[in-house]
């Protein structure tokens, strides 16, 4: 992690503290999606934002070390397949997207059957998808920067 990449030392220091908090908040939003406002989509975007935070502060390489492109595509496909799998699981009980898992009591963390799993699947999909779009856009800028250096 070279000092030249990314923003100034102050930003890097603060980022080290805040990025894990943002990540944790995203996880909270996802896991409590069936109890409080939020859910897979919002939580996924928050976690994608925490990685974008890393890219902005430390430069692209530092973030890609933690989560490279092949891993992102695997995670996203996994999320999509998981969501489809949950839908097919419903066929065991009768029809597509039937809530077959025991539902538990309201207000419990482990309640409401497939909704928690659906939230997790959507979270994987949205988080990986949006982060990969951001990475693709920031890689696209590279030729532009090198052109400037030539001039």
């Amino acid at each position: 992690m070279s000092e030249a990449k990314g923003m100034s030392l102050i930003v890097k220091r603060i980022t080290k503290i805040t990025v894990s908090l943002i990540f944790l908040f995203g996880v909270y939003i996802v896991l409590h999606g069936h109890l409080t406002p939020g859910g897979g989509f919002a939580g996924g975007v928050i976690i994608a934002l925490s990685f974008i935070h890393l890219v902005l502060a430390f430069g692209k390489e530092a973030a890609l070390e933690k989560l490279n492109e092949t891993r992102i595509s695997i995670i996203e496909s996994l999320g999509g397949l998981m969501f489809l799998g949950i839908g097919l699981l419903g066929l065991l009980g009768g029809y597509f997207f039937l809530n077959v898992i025991p539902k538990g009591r309201p207000f419990d963390l482990f309640s409401s059957g497939i909704i928690v799993l659906c939230n997790l699947a959507i979270f994987l999909k949205v988080g990986a998808g949006l982060f990969s779009i951001f990475i693709a856009l920031s890689i696209m800028r590279m030729p532009l920067d090198s052109e400037k250096e030539k001039k």
Partner: protein
Amino acid sequence: MIELNVILILMIIASVVAMEIEDLLSSVIALGAVGMGLTLEFLLLRAPDLAITQLVVEILSLIILIRATVDVDIEHKKIKTHPAYLLFAVLFVAVFLWFSIAALRELPVFGKPVMKMGAQYLAEGVKKTSATNIVAAIILDFRGYDTLGEATILFTAVIGVLSVLRKIGRKK
């Protein structure tokens, strides 16, 4: 409801500013003001799920737009228009307003009546799914099939962006 209308008017002003201002960065910031206004509107209409999603997506798109525009200078060209175009524009807006007033008259009152399906979701949502967030219960349980379609759209969009911006095939 007065604060709702005030924010709506501010959003319209901000979007006009975003259209008309010459500096690209200021235009992006005005766009952000529109998004934040929408977040407040969702909160005032008591839809916290939508407000959270709108807020985070707005921040993400602002970051991407600022990164894209911050050191790109696009020359702003003023195009001279014929005065007749203004006349046509006013005419079009008048016709559009006239039709939309006729259409909006026919709409039911805001939030009323609660439809048959909606009433059933509200009455039996917690009992059937035991999820206390009724939005999650509807989009992931009662209407899971629709959400699958929505997830497919997102997947296709990501594939589209990645295949347009991929490294292979880019000219050096």
